[in-house]
């Protein structure tokens, strides 16, 4: 009796000791929370904090918080003022009037000379920014301060998407301290360089990036300032690319906001859908490719179902597209009749693709484990094509289809990261100078009519006129089946209780995150 009592006593003592140790070490209880800090997650370390040198999507997301652009998209997809309060552009540039009161993080006024210096440096060939062509087009650029708050921008080649280009975070204004120390700017070590609402206070590779809200910042666009709740004092980003872990962490309370799989959305009361770009099939029309033949391209288009692709890749949560842009994009075609209707059975019965040999190159980044690419392969194979299927990681795929070796592929599943939210981002991949000759075109299509329309688009200054020409251009390349539109590229973000996130124009922008009062 005494023996068993002693044993029970010892057991209780052990339980108390273990529990105390766990409590003391912070092991028990809900994970740490801080109402002023929103905990989010980057999928990878930002490779650079220099807006001119952005490469990965997290680079863009981070820089959007740190650098303001002259213009922005509002929540209805309209271009509105950012640092600029007024602007007047034609095809060869124009003037920008800056808003009063904007300052850099160190208090330096964001006047015309600061803005002109930043734009000139971004557009300079010495900077070698990959984004320059999307902001200013192919030609040379000169930005000049014509008053304390007036900037004149001149382009040597027509580019009617300048207003959309200036919404792109790559054109974000870098303050003088950043231009003096570009190496420090790239690594995020020059806090005085920031012009946006947040400053980077901690950057530990792979571990944590902390952005703190500037107390003196007052340049919120109208649509953002009217969002419910208040901006977080601090946003802390850990790093990880596993969407299942992200989902578990949001549910477990150790994250407030993170990207999750589209198939996981039912686990969360609140999710935000963010549009990244577009996904479509591109044909290489090089002389060695079978897809010089328009009828073969049309047969491929008939073997692919946009709805099925959306279902397997995004669990049906993305948007089916009828051009190289989503329905909210300016001038985007919404006429379903312009795209081929899915009828793989007929293609199979007619033997249109029977024995056609093709090299199909795709990245495994489309859907879970590359299931989007797999879907296309299955449909083509089922239709009778002999497909040399090359599914690789994103870097290998980009090296292949965006490299100079034109005959190395025949058909690819392409995904844009459409930072300017324009049709031009996609159109410039199938029109104009081929990649190997210094341009962006990967289709190498012989399409004089399309080229003419593309040139006209670049010259159009009136928005309605531009959309009319864009519609003609879309009819042109959709009729020729230079591309097969599929869906928008989307990411789904799960939100913890108390967090509001309404991405403006469904585009990623962490400055629109709000904490409920």
């Amino acid at each position: 009796m005494i023996h068993s009592a002693t044993r029970a006593s010892r057991s209780r003592l052990a339980a108390v000791a273990v529990s105390s140790a766990l409590v003391l070490t912070g092991c028990l209880g809900t994970p740490d929370t801080d109402s002023d800090t929103v905990r989010a997650r980057f999928s990878a370390d930002p490779q650079s904090f220099d807006p001119a040198q952005l490469v990965g999507s997290d680079d863009y997301y981070a820089s959007r918080m740190l650098f303001d652009t002259l213009l922005r998209y509002d929540d209805d997809g309209e271009i509105v003022g950012g640092l600029a309060e007024d602007w007047d552009f034609d095809a060869l540039g124009g003037t920008v009037e800056l808003a009063e009161g904007a300052t850099c993080a160190d208090g330096t006024p964001l006047d015309a000379s600061v803005v002109a210096d930043s734009l000139n440096r971004f557009a300079s060939p010495d900077t070698a920014s990959g984004s320059k062509i999307l902001v200013f087009g192919n030609g040379d650029v000169t930005a000049r301060a014509t008053g304390s708050h007036s900037v004149d921008i001149r382009l040597s080649e027509p580019f009617s998407e300048l207003d959309a280009g200036l919404t792109m975070v790559a054109s974000g204004i870098v303050c003088p301290a950043g231009l003096e120390d570009t190496e420090g700017l790239s690594s995020g070590n020059v806090p005085e360089a920031f012009s946006g609402p947040f400053t980077l206070t901690t950057a530990t590779s792979g571990v944590e990036y902390v952005m703190e809200l500037r107390s003196d910042y007052d340049m919120w666009p109208d649509f953002v300032s009217s969002l419910d709740g208040r901006p977080p004092e601090r946003m802390s980003f850990s790093v990880g690319d596993d969407v299942a872990t992200n989902a578990n962490e949001v549910l477990g309370g150790s994250l407030d906001l993170a990207g999750v799989s589209p198939t996981d959305t039912e686990r969360f009361p609140e999710v935000a859908l963010v549009y990244i770009g577009e996904q479509y099939i591109v044909f290489n029309q090089h002389k060695t490719s079978p897809f010089q033949d328009e009828e073969l391209r049309r047969a491929v288009a008939r073997t692919l179902s946009r709805e099925a692709y959306n279902e397997v890749t995004y669990a049906g949560r993305s948007e089916v597209e009828f051009t190289m842009g989503d329905s909210g994009m300016q001038c985007a075609n919404s006429d379903e009749d312009l795209v081929e209707e899915y009828d793989r059975g007929a293609v199979q019965a007619e033997g249109l693709l029977d024995g056609v040999e093709m090299v199909y190159s795709a990245s495994n980044s489309f859907g879970p484990n590359g299931i989007g690419a797999e879907y296309v392969y299955q449909e083509l194979s089922d239709a009778g094509a002999h497909v040399d299927y090359q599914i690789v990681d994103n870097s290998t795929w980009a090296s292949l289809v965006l490299g100079p070796d034109a005959p190395s592929w025949d058909i690819t599943l392409f995904g844009t990261v459409n930072q300017t939210n324009t049709l031009w981002t996609g159109v410039s991949r199938i029109m104009g100078t081929p990649i190997e000759d210094g341009g962006r075109s990967m289709s190498r299509a012989d399409n004089p009519e399309g080229e003419r329309l593309a040139e006209e688009v670049m010259l159009a200054t009136d928005p309605d006129e531009k959309c009319e020409i864009y519609q003609d251009l879309q009819e042109n390349f959709l009729d020729r089946v230079d591309v097969v539109p599929l869906t928008a590229s989307v990411e789904v973000f799960a939100l913890a209780d108390g967090i509001q996130y309404e991405p403006p124009n469904s585009r990623m922008d962490y400055t629109a995150v709000r904490v409920e009062e």
Binding site: G26, A128, I133, T245, N248, S395
Partner: protein
């Protein structure tokens, strides 16, 4: 007086001669010591492994498909920008020149400059503590728990006693050991993070974030090593020297700790060397499950972004850590059982 002086003088001369020979003898004895040859062999192993790893880590990046310059410049960059990036990163240099640069970077201590930001050594300095802390803790826990469990269950089930415990131990350890580390991690997340809500599911922002990764990593090796320890302990209990201690009616604590444990340690440590260096590999897998900011996620990201210097430097460091762990295990074995000093299996 004079004679005394003479005697003293002769005596001290002899002493001096003897003392001058003493260091020589000590040196000879030291050289003849099996420890010297043992440690020399281990040093040779270390150097050979280092040279092998340098060549291998340099060569593997040459086999990775894709264009590192395109990955660094981004998908929107023109070929002109990509070419300029390639030149800047030194990717146009001949292979031999790149190898010399790599070796130079290793000996400079930087391990090279990342294609993204900073030097490789800086990145490793940030990330390594996370991996080493988790792997090191898991190794320590494995060694302690495995021996306690193995010897403890052997003692409790000796001579057919508590058959249920023997059965339960065998089943539970076999099942847990058979579960891959990423599944163990997921199960722990479901239980402790999602169901009970007492521990974070991932990340490393809180001290409590360390618990699940360490447990996920250690629990498998604890099971497998404790099974080995138990088997060794059972065999040792049948040995004559243990029977002799029983004949002497020694206290069982002395029997287990003084006579049984050292003999069990020898065999178990031999296998644990392989197991523990494998644990480093397990840590890399575990990092993906828990979004752990260690060297594993660093290597995976570097491969995806074609950051060659980070791939090379990190794998080199991880490889050397595995080699050093195995050498330390060999030294520990030799310390416990000097017969291992004469083993030539590692030469």
């Amino acid at each position: 007086m004079n004679g005394d002086w003479t005697m003293t003088s002769v005596h001290s001369t002899a002493e001096n001669r003897l003392s001058s020979r003493a260091p020589q003898r000590n040196l000879q004895a030291w050289i003849a010591s099996p420890w010297v040859w043992f440690l020399t062999r281990k040093l040779g192993t270390l150097l050979l492994s280092f040279m092998f790893l340098v060549v291998v880590t340099f060569s593997i990046v040459l086999l990775i498909p894709g264009d590192a310059a395109r990955a660094a410049a981004g998908p929107d960059a023109s070929l002109e920008v990509v070419e300029a990036t390639r030149q800047t990163l030194g990717l146009n240099d001949p292979v031999w020149a790149r190898f010399l640069t790599y070796v130079g970077d290793i000996f400079s201590g930087t391990l090279g400059t990342s294609f993204r930001v900073g030097t490789v050594s800086e990145q490793i300095a940030v990330r390594a503590p996370y991996t080493l802390l988790v792997a090191g803790s898991a190794i320590a826990i494995t060694l302690v728990l495995a021996f306690l469990l193995g010897v403890g269950v052997t003692a409790l089930t000796r001579d057919g006693r508590r058959a249920w415990l023997a059965q339960a131990f065998s089943w539970v350890t076999a099942i847990v050991d058979a579960i891959p580390v990423y599944v163990r991690g997921t199960l722990l997340i479901i239980l402790f993070a999602l169901t009970l809500g007492v521990l974070p599911a991932g990340g490393a922002q809180q001290p409590s974030s360390f618990i699940l990764p360490i447990v996920a990593l250690a629990i498998g090796p604890v099971c497998s090593l404790s099974r080995i320890v138990r088997r060794e302990a059972e065999s040792a209990l049948q040995a004559n020297y243990i029977r002799t201690t029983e004949g002497w009616r020694l206290n069982s604590r002395i029997v287990y700790l003084k006579y049984l444990l050292p003999n069990v340690v020898t065999a178990a440590l031999t296998l644990s060397g392989l197991m523990l260096s494998g644990m480093i590999g397990g840590a890399l897998v575990m990092e993906q499950v828990f979004s752990w900011p260690g060297l594993g996620t660093s290597v995976v990201n570097a491969i995806l972004t074609r950051d060659y210097p980070v791939i090379q430097g990190t794998i080199l460091v991880l490889g050397m850590v595995a080699v050093v762990i195995n050498i330390l295990i060999d030294v520990a074995l030799a310390f416990v059982d000097p017969r291992h000093l004469h083993s030539r299996s590692d030469v």
